[in-house]
């Protein structure tokens, strides 16, 4: 709690220091001299230089403090009696933390109740030290910055340099996020591949990730062959969904751009876009509750005995509908980019509108459409909620659309939301699947973006 107080204190100190600086700068101007920078810039300069170092310190201190507190707790008499086993100890420690900060009243483990007071005391001590240091830093830098407020001091360039740093820092977040994704996926996947060989993961055809608790139990090893998952993903996302989305999306785009009157287009396009805005959990619920029974009954009616109520067809159909506006707007863009002269040339030769579209506009727009379809595939195979709710869990390799298949994203959710111990191969497998998914979508996106860009250049 004291760290939050320190945060408020720092901000208050920065604001007052800024106000003082402004007053001082205005006072300097009183003698009729021109200042190099406006008083407001002096205020900003002093305020920023007061707050930033102290905030930086707090940001570094917070993780250091939790390490220090943990050490102090473990060194205490009560802490030394804790079990050595890492996982149990961590559970007890985090429970003690929750008790100490008042989030829960009492812990599940008796040990955590015993060490909560120790935790609380250590926490209090270290956060007191940290807050005091942070406030001192703020005061010190305020004094230093205040001394710079003079007639010819270039406060504005100082402020602008700081702002520039802030801008660069903000844009680096994107790189950091990418790096974070790659590193965290790689790190956990490597731990997974220590237990399961990469060849088995990539080329194995049997998937049953439940590892038994005791080694002598039946099926204790678990099988981590991911081929059926990737087949299921491709079957639902790249085949069934695209069979729905490509014709409907493409024809919608053609109708809206070439045939529909401008007023109808202005209404129809946003309504069509709603399809892309509906949350995927809603699609998933709809697929599971309404579409899946319909598909199963249809399957039984045409004589397919094995028709499942978790069929690939139901999930793929709904996913295809969700992708329609995406395909449609990509096709729209690439059709609009075809030069009018090509269209006019075809019409002038006597071709009808549909002949022009089929023989001239579409071939010219094809690279853009293909790029859009690739992006749509990448979106479909990364889609989670529809398949979690409507597709099955059985890892089948079948091309029967009425049977149940499972997908990569379904399995990731399944692996990470059951009862789990964090270091088991089962949990780590989710990260390996995530890494594979990330790499595949990345490649698809890169190809798609390249295709689209190259094609745009051709007509500009």
């Amino acid at each position: 709690m004291t760290l939050q107080l320190a945060l408020v204190a720092i901000l208050v100190i920065a604001a007052t220091a800024g106000l003082f600086a402004r007053k001082r700068a205005t006072g300097l101007r009183g003698g009729g001299i021109r200042l190099n920078s406006l008083p407001n810039y002096h205020a900003l300069f002093v305020g920023l230089w007061t707050a930033l170092p102290a905030l930086l310190f707090l940001a570094i201190w917070a993780p250091v403090q939790s390490g220090l507190v943990e050490q102090a707790v473990l060194a205490s008499p009560a802490g030394q009696q804790l079990p050595d086993f890492q996982m149990v100890r961590d559970t007890i420690l985090s429970e003690a933390r929750d008790i100490a900060t008042g989030r829960i009243a009492a812990g599940f483990n008796p040990e955590s109740n015993a060490i909560a007071p120790v935790y609380s005391a250590a926490y209090g001590k270290y956060s007191m030290v940290g807050s005091a240091l942070a406030v001192l830093i703020a005061l010190g830098s305020a004094l230093l910055a205040m001394r710079l407020v003079k007639v010819d001091f270039r406060a504005r360039s100082g402020v602008e340099r700081l702002m520039m740093g802030l801008l660069v820092g903000a844009s680096l977040i994107a790189i950091l996020t990418t790096l974070g994704i790659v590193l965290s996926l790689l790190f956990e996947s490597l731990r997974f591949f220590k237990q399961v060989s990469p060849t088995e993961f990539l080329f194995g055809t049997s998937w049953s990730p439940q590892t038994a608790i005791r080694a002598d139990q039946a099926g204790s090893s678990g099988a981590f062959g991911s081929v059926p998952l990737f087949w299921g993903t491709a079957f639902i996302g790249a085949i069934i969904a695209m069979i729905v989305a490509i014709p409907l999306g493409l024809m919608s785009a053609i109708f809206l751009t070439q045939y529909a009157p401008a007023r109808a287009r202005a209404w129809l396009k946003p309504i069509l876009e709603i399809l892309a805005g509906v949350p995927t959990v809603v699609y998933g619920y709809f697929a599971a509750l309404t579409v899946a029974p319909l598909v199963r009954d249809f399957g039984l009616a045409i004589g397919i005995e094995s028709a499942s109520s978790e069929s690939a067809l139901a999930a793929g159909l709904v996913m295809g509908i969700m992708i329609i506006p995406f395909v449609s707007s990509m096709a729209d863009d690439s059709i609009a980019a075809v030069p009018q002269a090509m269209r006019d040339g075809s019409l002038a030769l006597g071709a009808t509108k549909s002949e022009t579209i089929k023989k001239v506009v579409l071939p010219a727009a094809l690279p853009g459409v293909v790029g859009g379809v690739l992006l749509a595939v990448s979106r479909a195979i990364g889609e989670t909620m529809i398949v979690v709710m409507a597709a099955g869990l059985a890892a089948n390799m079948t091309a029967n659309p009425f049977a149940s298949v499972t997908t990569v994203t379904t399995q990731i959710v399944q692996l990470l939301t059951g009862d789990q111990e964090f270091d088991s191969a089962k949990t780590l497998a989710a990260f390996a699947l995530g890494l594979a998914l990330f790499v595949i979508t990345l490649i698809l996106n890169l190809i798609a973006l390249r295709v689209v860009r190259k094609y745009r250049e051709a007509y500009e």
Partner: protein, 298 residues
């Protein structure tokens, strides 16, 4: 020559050919209309199904109660509050970072390998599946930084990383559409580059940026998968008091209820979907309103 004979327009065979081509033309047009019609019919089917199933479940109690084991007592208030807190965290982080990096990339960045790298990562992040962000949140925020599980703080952070690229892309387009003459005029009267950007370009681009931000926020509001990854799927019967309390969010609540065996939860799930859709509609409506009111053609 035969080609000369074929171009006699009064010929009967020619009339037939023209008629055939016109029929093909009408057919093609009809296909297009059917494609649009089919898509819209599906949308209508979905919305009407949800309305029919859920409208009976909407009541004041439903809006003010939180999750419960008995379907009769279950409500959405706890999840709704969790969603709002999560979105607030997302907004507080993604908006400033997104706007600042859009400004940097569009107005200041030199063309070199570093800015290319930034650009490529932003474009890629915008297309990374949302579940990957959930894995990132699980590995970094929970296992590495030990932030509280299933709290709006962690959910908001994860969604912020996901929404930030959307805001950057929308922001860059809005900044690009501010005409150079504005910048030239401000530079001409002696403003510094930074003053030009913050006093003139940013205010003019802000409506466009806000529109993009609201659309990104609406998407974050409906997102489920990454939040499942960071543990936001527990049964929580009390609304959260702050951003570090364990909480549920609306889409996850829908997911959890959809798994219940009790048939009474079907109505609750559909009613919660209606509430979620109303919020999304409001946010998108606000975005369209902003765009129509402030959009300027230079």
């Amino acid at each position: 020559m035969s080609s000369r004979a074929a171009s006699r327009w009064t010929d009967g065979s020619m009339g037939k050919r023209v008629a055939k081509r016109y029929a093909a033309e009408r057919r093609f047009r009809l296909f297009g209309l059917a494609a649009v019609g089919l898509s819209l019919a599906f949308l209508a089917f979905l919305l009407i199904t949800m309305l029919m199933k859920g409208i009976g479940g909407l009541s004041l109690e439903f809006l003010s109660n939180s999750d419960a084991t008995e379907a009769a007592n279950a409500g959405v208030w706890g999840a709704l509050k969790g969603s709002l807190l999560t979105i607030l965290v997302t907004m507080a982080i993604a908006f400033p970072i997104g706007v600042l990096s859009a400004l940097y990339l569009e107005e200041f960045a030199p063309r070199n390998r570093w800015t290319d790298l930034i650009e490529v990562s932003i474009n890629n992040l915008a297309a990374v599946p949302s579940i990957i962000f959930g894995l990132l949140g699980l590995a970094v925020f929970l296992n590495f930084m030990h932030l509280p599980r299933s709290a709006p703080l962690v959910g908001g952070l994860t969604l912020a990383l996901m929404t930030m690229p959307v805001i950057v892309i929308a922001g860059r387009n809005a900044i690009k559409s501010v005409p150079p003459s504005i910048r030239d005029a401000a530079l001409g009267v002696g403003a510094s580059k930074m003053q030009v950007v913050f006093h003139h370009v940013l205010p003019l681009a802000l409506p466009g940026i806000l529109t993009g931000t609201i659309i990104g926020m609406a998407r974050a509001l409906g997102e489920t998968a990454p939040l499942l990854m960071i543990g936001m799927r527990a049964f929580i019967a009390t609304p959260p008091r702050g951003i570090t309390d364990p909480s549920s969010v609306l889409p996850v609540q829908i997911f959890l209820w959809s798994d219940e065996v009790d048939r009474a939860f079907v109505e609750k799930t559909s009613a919660a979907i209606i509430v979620l859709l109303i919020f999304m509609l409001l946010m998108n409506g606000l975005a369209i309103y902003l765009r129509n009111k402030f959009e300027r053609r230079w």
